[in-house]
Structure formats: structure tokens, C-alpha cells
């Protein structure tokens, strides 16, 4: 049973984006096997990035561009301030631009003092 129903245009676009693509019509050519696949068969599938993850992978926050964690900053706290400052993760850290200007005031070096970073509640 489908519980969610799109009621505005943006929601309809999201539905179309996540719905599986319709199977391509088979041509009358004899090269049927290759036409069935999405490109060369030996190419590995790209990583599955779940919705909710950051969509910017430079190098990434939850996952890196390969879907793993080897490419993340090491330790990950190195990235906390720098990537936030460049607005890479606007939904993952407090809004220092408008609403939470002092959330890092007690912590200058994130790798050392991340425990002192303020918690922000909406």
C-alpha cells in the first residue's frame, strides 16, 4: 500500500526521480545483451548514497565519494570547521552565519576540543 502521495509539483518530481526507470524497448537488432544493460557490463555500479547524506563529497562527511569512509578527513574533526565555513554542510552543523555565531567560541581546535562545541537546539 502506498502511504505517501505527492500533492505538489516538487513532490511529483521527487517521485519521478526515485522511481525505477522503465525498461528500454528492445530494438530489432541482434545485439540484445548489451542493450539490456546500463553501459558496459564490466563497469562497477556507483556507490549508493542514502538520502540524508551530504551531497557534497569534498572529501565528504558521512561518506566519501566512493561510498566509504577512507576518503574522509582523518580524524574527521579536522573537517568540522573548515567544510562548514565553506557552506558544504549547511544542514549538518549550526548556522554560524545567521543564528548561531558563537557555537565554536569555546573550541578553536576541533580535533582537540570537539567536546566543547556547543549543542544547538532549534
Amino acid at each position: 500500500m502506498k502511504h505517501l502521495q505527492a500533492i505538489n509539483r516538487k513532490a511529483v518530481r521527487v517521485e519521478h526521480a526515485v522511481s525505477p526507470a522503465p525498461a528500454p524497448e528492445l530494438a530489432s537488432d541482434d545485439v540484445v545483451a548489451l542493450q539490456d544493460q546500463q553501459g558496459p557490463p564490466q563497469q562497477p555500479e556507483g556507490p549508493h548514497i542514502p538520502l540524508g547524506c551530504s551531497l557534497v563529497f569534498s572529501p565528504g562527511w558521512e561518506v566519501d565519494r566512493n561510498g566509504g569512509t577512507a576518503g574522509l578527513c582523518q580524524p574527521v574533526e579536522r573537517d568540522l570547521f573548515d567544510c562548514h565555513r565553506g557552506c558544504f554542510w549547511p544542514a549538518h552543523v549550526p548556522d554560524q552565519l545567521n543564528h548561531s555565531p558563537d557555537w565554536t567560541s569555546k573550541c578553536a581546535a576541533a580535533q582537540k576540543d570537539w567536546r566543547k562545541v556547543d549543542l544547538i537546539f532549534p
Binding site: P59, D64, R65, N66, G68, A70, G71, L72, C73, Q74, R78, D79, L80, F81, D82, C83, R85, Q96, L97, P101, T104, S105, C107, A108, A109, A110, Q111, K112
Partner: protein
């Protein structure tokens, strides 16, 4: 016996050639580091100690540190992107701050470039006015602002009427031209900011080469008006991407370039003092290398796997003996440039934003 003596001699020579790590220093310059929460750390290159701390008057951290052409002032944006602060490096105090925000209108400075004579600054702005029921967003505009009076001298019309979301801009060394980089390079004279020249660098005249991609950025160890960096080009015959090194004289529109081989994920290309060598970092997930380029011999001199990390920035020391690895965090790692040995680490009191190495 002769073999034994020869082996001893070799060992002694090797020991003499590799200096103790404590004797290798970066020179006698000064390293300025923009750092959290709102300061610029001053690091003496010879002792590798933080000798001073310049506190911003605005809310930091300092963003986009820019050194004036005479190396006497630092320009930076604040946390909100609404203000610019100017710090005098002789007195290490703030001498100027400016903003264009007023009342319900927030004007954010998306990019800026100071004229070589420091009389004015060119700003890329966008304004948002909070009205009773909505925000009114103004189109992005380029303005020339007087640094002394903080007044807008003029709004610079977008070339060809095409508004840009971002703009990479540089002044000529004398300040008579402002270059805007995009699909083509536009040269604007700085009296009335009219376009006086165009150069479609991407269509470099070389048979068999595709689009020429090159990013212009100031290189402290390059001659004024010259820009060196890695370029990438598509080889349509072999259907592959190639990379090489190009040195471009913007004023004369001269490009000296040579290919080095297949494209590699190299970043942080920097020219060493003396302009005979350059360095870069190859960065893949789980695999990092230092590369050394022999600019005189036009070849890759050395490359070696290192124990790196994601998001490394690179700068050579003022004497060229060391490489500083910075960015993302509160550490500056020191490596010997000739052997890539990791020597030691400078621990800072705050995560850094920008790093400038300035010779004295």
C-alpha cells in the same frame, strides 16, 4: 678489505648528506595563519614558534586572507561575509573595516580584489533586503569601492551584459588592467572598466589539442604578471586527457607549455623560490604522493608515496628547503623538500583557514 673500506666510506658519505632533522629550517620568513575563532597567528619561520596573535575586531574566523602587494597589510572577510577587515602587519593592528550592509539590507561580499596601490577594492556583491513579507534578492554586481571613504565609486557593468554568479579576478602588476577569468579572459582598463582586450585561452593554437584548461591564481614565487600551473587538455587523437605545466605571461598573451603525461589528480601546485622547481600533491582516496617538477628540465623530477591525508594544502618555505602541509585542522606538517622526509609538526591553537608564507 678494499670492499670493506669502500662500504665504510659510503656509509659516512650518506650520513653527511642527510642533515639531522633539527638543522633543517624553512628560512627567515613569517607565516601568517588565519585561525579560529577570530585571529591571525604569526609564526616565525626560523624558530617555528607562534610569536604573536592578531585578534580580529570583527567576528572571525578570517576568510580569504589577502596580502597587499607591498606585503604590509592583510585583507580578510569576516564570518558573515558582510565585512572586510584590514590589518597592518607593521603594527599588527586593525586599521580599517568596511561593510555595505545597512538596516534590513544585508550585502554579502562574495569575492574581492584589492588594487595594487590599495586605493580601492573591487567587490562582488549580492544584497538581500528583508521586507515585511519576503526577502528581496538583488542581482549580483561588481563595484569599485574607495578604501579610504568606503564609498562606491562606480558599479562595474558586467561585460557583454552577462551577469556572473562568481568571478575570478586579478589585477595586472601596475594596476592598469583588471582581468576577469571565465570562458575567455577579459582585460578591463581600470579608469572606466571598459573591456579593452579578450583572450580565449581555451582555444590555444596547437594542432591536435582540445580545450586548454588552466586556472589562474597568484603564485608568490612567480614573477609579477606571470602565472604557472598545471593545465589539462584533451587529446582527441588518443582519446585521453593529458596534463602538463604552463607558464603564462598575461600582458603579452604568451603561453609556454609542455605536456608531462596522462592526467593525474594533482593539486596544490606551487612554485619554489628561485623558480627552478615546483611541487604538487597527488591525492586519491588512500593514496597520496608528493611530486617534484624540474621546471628547467621540463620534466617530473621525483614522485613518492607519502603517508598523507585528505585535504592537504602545500606551500614551500622561503628558502625552498621545506614543504609546509597545511589545511583542515590545526597542524602544519614540515617535510624536507628534497627527500620528502617528515620532519616535525607545528601545532597551532586553532583550526586554520588560510596560510601565507611571506619572506622578510
Amino acid at each position: 678489505m678494499r670492499t670493506f673500506v669502500f662500504a665504510i666510506a659510503l656509509l659516512l658519505a650518506a650520513g653527511a648528506a642527510s642533515q639531522p632533522t633539527s638543522e633543517l629550517t624553512g628560512g627567515t620568513g613569517t607565516i601568517y595563519v588565519g585561525a579560529f575563532p577570530s585571529r591571525v597567528l604569526v609564526v616565525d619561520e626560523a624558530t617555528e614558534q607562534v610569536v604573536d596573535e592578531i585578534t580580529m575586531t570583527l567576528d572571525g574566523p578570517p576568510s580569504d586572507l589577502l596580502l597587499s602587494q607591498d606585503r604590509n597589510r592583510l585583507y580578510m572577510r569576516d564570518r558573515t561575509f558582510e565585512q572586510i577587515e584590514v590589518i597592518d602587519l607593521q603594527t599588527r593592528t586593525t586599521i580599517n573595516t568596511l561593510t555595505l550592509s545597512e538596516g534590513a539590507t544585508k550585502v554579502r561580499i562574495r569575492d574581492f580584489m584589492v588594487s595594487p596601490d590599495e586605493r580601492y577594492v573591487v567587490l562582488l556583491l549580492d544584497a538581500a533586503t528583508k521586507e515585511i513579507d519576503r526577502f528581496a534578492i538583488a542581482p549580483r554586481r561588481l563595484v569599485q569601492l574607495n578604501l579610504a571613504t568606503h564609498e562606491i565609486i562606480r558599479e562595474i557593468p558586467w561585460p557583454d551584459g552577462e551577469e556572473r554568479v562568481s568571478v575570478n579576478m586579478l589585477f595586472s602588476p601596475e594596476g592598469d588592467l583588471l582581468y576577469l577569468f571565465g570562458d575567455e579572459i577579459l582585460a578591463l582598463e581600470t579608469e572606466s572598466f571598459d573591456v579593452v582586450d579578450r583572450w580565449e585561452l581555451s582555444r590555444i593554437e596547437e594542432p591536435g589539442l582540445g580545450r586548454f584548461n588552466f586556472g589562474f591564481r597568484p603564485e608568490p614565487n612567480e614573477a609579477p604578471g606571470f602565472y604557472s600551473g598545471i593545465f589539462r587538455v584533451q587529446d582527441p587523437v588518443q582519446n585521453r586527457r593529458l596534463m602538463g605545466i604552463a607558464r603564462i605571461n598575461l600582458a603579452e598573451r604568451e603561453v609556454d607549455f609542455y605536456t608531462l603525461g596522462p592526467d593525474q589528480p594533482l593539486s596544490s601546485f606551487v612554485v619554489a623560490p628561485g623558480r627552478e622547481k615546483a611541487y604538487a600533491i597527488l591525492s586519491r582516496i588512500g593514496h597520496y604522493e608528493f611530486w617534484t617538477f624540474d621546471l628547467m628540465g621540463r620534466r617530473v623530477e621525483n614522485r613518492q608515496v607519502i603517508e598523507g591525508r585528505p585535504r592537504m594544502g602545500l606551500r614551500p618555505s622561503t628558502n625552498g628547503q621545506l614543504l609546509y602541509v597545511h589545511q583542515a585542522g590545526a597542524t602544519i606538517d614540515l617535510y624536507e623538500a628534497s627527500t620528502y622526509r617528515h620532519l616535525r609538526t607545528i601545532q597551532l591553537a586553532g583550526d586554520m583557514t588560510n596560510l601565507l608564507v611571506v619572506p622578510n
